[in-house]
Symmetry: C2
Subunit: 317 residues, 2 copies
């Protein structure tokens, strides 16, 4: 019996992004949902995607056209790995276009797995930069608001995308979220097109003020301030019509004690913050019920969960 070919598996969590006034700025990792990528060393250079599961056959397996593949290729290039390569198995754990950082999770899991199996010991900034290249393929631009919480965990503020400047934020103990994804798909591209190109300075100032207040509220644990600050005056007013049921879910969430309720990413996943996991459970139930006959998935998580990590191939997440 020959020695097993070296391989490593990484899990990368789903992430909520935007978060009220934090359009293109805020994101946090969630528990219980994410992608897994297994990287196996091979003697040929480059990246081969052997298999993708959980995507309904929709993702390209050409590494140069796949988020995980591009991220892995970037890492090989930066690390100067030219004589060996990797084969990837990608297991999607969440729907595409859900607003929960699906492409970011694949890119992050890929770089963490490749880094581990080739024992590259890359620093965090390198892993981030490589995953961002994968994410760029999916969104057409560098956006770190899903990739950085997915990689680092926690609740982060993206001060700058290029170069990435990622600020970890404090999170009040117990802060939880309910995420409900109605079974409709929202194209990130169409959601971006729904945005205005320009806004008034007055609107920009109030958005910035809410963002600053939100950061202060997370730091101080002032949940009443957090409630007042969770207001998005840029993206949400233009996007909620793309998510049937958003208004009903938001009303239900607030009626059941949510601190606030906004789209995650560009939707359709809808995010409610709650003072505790128990509250988040009740809120998630109410949001699902508000959708009537429209099917949905639900997730309840702490806010700012662990980031990506190497896992045992057989572990449940």
């Amino acid at each position: 019996m020959s020695a097993p070919t070296p391989s490593a598996t990484a899990f990368a969590p789903a992430s909520a992004s935007n978060v009220g006034p934090g359009f293109d700025i805020l994101g946090f990792a969630v528990d219980g949902l994410g992608d897994r990528v297994t990287a196996t060393r091979r003697d040929q250079p480059g990246v081969e995607i052997a298999e993708i599961t959980g995507d309904g056959g929709r993702l390209p397996t050409d590494a140069a056209e796949n988020t995980a593949g591009v991220a892995a290729l970037e890492l090989l290039q930066r690390a100067g790995v030219t004589k060996r390569g990797v084969q990837l198995h990608v297991a999607k754990g969440m729907s595409l276009g859900s607003g929960l950082g699906s492409s970011a999770a694949s890119a992050v899991a890929a770089v963490v797995a490749v880094d581990a199996v080739l024992e590259l010991r890359s620093d965090r900034a390198t892993l981030l930069a490589c995953a961002l290249e994968g994410e760029r393929l999916a969104s057409g631009a560098i956006h770190a608001d899903n990739v950085s919480p997915c990689l680092y965990g926690g609740f982060v503020l993206v001060r700058s995308n290029l170069p990435p400047d990622i600020v970890p934020l404090l999170v009040p103990p117990g802060l939880a979220c309910a995420v409900v994804r109605p079974h409709v798909e929202v194209s990130t591209r169409i959601a971006r097109q729904a945005l205005p190109r320009e806004i008034t300075v007055e609107r920009a100032v109030r958005q910035a003020a809410n963002l600053g207040a939100l950061v202060a509220a997370l730091g101080s644990g002032d949940l009443e301030l957090l409630r007042r600050a969770l207001e998005d005056r840029i993206a949400e007013p233009r996007r909620t019509h793309l998510v049937p049921g958003f208004g009903a879910m938001k009303n239900a969430a607030l009626a059941f004690g949510a601190i606030g309720c906004t789209l995650s990413g560009s939707g359709p996943s809808t995010l409610a913050l709650a003072p505790s996991l128990e509250d988040a459970e009740r809120i998630a139930d109410a949001m699902v019920a508000s959708l009537g006959d429209v099917g949905s998935d639900r997730l309840v998580s702490s806010v700012g969960a662990r980031g990506a990590r190497v896992v045992d191939d057989l572990s449940p997440d």
Copy 2:
């Protein structure tokens, strides 16, 4: 000898506002500069302004047209004081149009003095609302970014002007500022007209991200992050041409170790943040020197000084 007519004197500090990305949002109180208002009870209703000093004769003494007078009148009205009134002596301690909240300081000192002499014991929110009415006279709109730090002290974030929602921010120990006012005057109105009416969403997002990062940096004491966050992409690019010498002062401040350098308010006062009072002293000297023959005043203060208070008539501030 008859009993003296009851009077009370209040001091209200100067305040820096805007502060990098905090245009119309952030402000903090400074030491060593401010206005004093003495309120004396009288039997006639209403407000009479007996005297204004330090304004070079430029401020109106009709109470209904004077910032301090309007604020005092609003307080009498809200407190239901109809049978008595006050006479005010206003001592301006700073130049008009300096960018250091001159009108806010007069309004705040007036309400604090009137509240004290009439023993109204108004709550903070009432005093704020009354001072904001005075400030409205000066600026044409409700702006709490000078009035609230002047009244409460510290470093505040104005989440909302109407109704006022004022968030106190943490300040790293030792954080100091150098403020230099070149002897030129900038009209707040002209400075407002220099602003664009609309900006791109991209610009608004980066401004908000810097503001959030600034709040996080103040909370964590991360001065390197504070340095990166102190960038104004809305007001400063349109306003610095109104302040001759701004570029030279900013270069000098940064060369001497300033964390950042921006206009205070709409200028001409120029504000540099520094890790310590000692650094701020050196930075202020360098800024003054950079102005060459242009005269200037300088001020070095901790960031987030005490707010308005009743003082002994004979005390130095």
